[in-house]
Symmetry: C2
Subunit: 160 residues, 2 copies
Amino acid sequence: MARKNAQTLEDTLPDAPAAEPVGTILDELIGYALRRAQLKVAQGLIDELSSFDLRPAQFSALVVIEASPGLMQTDLARILAIEPPQVVTLLNKLEKMGLAVRVRCKPDKRSYGIFLSKAGETQLKQLKAIVKQSDLTATAALSDEERAQLLGLLQKIRQG
Amino acid sequence: MARKNAQTLEDTLPDAPAAEPVGTILDELIGYALRRAQLKVAQGLIDELSSFDLRPAQFSALVVIEASPGLMQTDLARILAIEPPQVVTLLNKLEKMGLAVRVRCKPDKRSYGIFLSKAGETQLKQLKAIVKQSDLTATAALSDEERAQLLGLLQKIRQG
DNA sequence: TATTGTTATACTCTATAACTATA
DNA sequence: TATAGTTATAGAGTATAACAATA
């Protein structure tokens, strides 16, 4: 099936296209390997979270809010490395779902404190278990030691 | 700077939000670490390629075409894990830039053979050096041995 | 009937500029 | 004047359905 072209113009062609770009510079690029691995892991997560009508970024936001209750939207934007307008959309969704709330309670009346609702706290407990399991499933080819290694290497890149 | 909220409603709050989601489940998720690392590496690459009016996917396509000259658009879609309509847009751009050509030369008259132009081959040589350097720069925090380790782990995930 | 390439379309993500209300 | 949040908008990336030409 993979041998049906390149008979006419070039008959000195290397080989039929493989299912993956093997033997090219792409194999040596961390960036390309990152993209392909991230795509795969993210897809599993997206599938899992879709049952809850949530996206990965929304889950991350819930986690960050739980860890820093009362934080401002600018904080959330900075921590998640997204832009303030994206935080607005994201929080509107979480508020509409009853998982988080904006509370106008700061000395600075321009800002809100962001908190999880009781329902949000409960939901997040369940979500964390599901997301952790999804992460393990997507990386089932790795041993626990390899996972720890990988986390360390990725964090070096992020901080370096 | 990181200590200016949470004085009113909750004074028993943990701590001011850090610059990164440290101490949460996000730190344990391969998926999250992948996303953040990929974002950083990709940004450097995008910046480098923008001088050539190219996107990362277009560079990848040039590499795959060089490795399998004469391949069909369906092959390219499968190898790069993108959808056929995206291949159309991508190839239109590469043809317009004079880097690649569609040649109607197959026994199957529905398909095209895709080839690099002479200019494309020349350009790609230069691009490969630049992209490789960008990849090394983005992962400057890693040793050569760590890079090889990381590549191996990422490919395990992709294939697993 | 199935496949190659294409068009049209839509939905998400991302980024920026401009507005408001506070400071 | 500067900042927090918001709105509007536009550009990519991604996915699907439907079509024309060919098999």
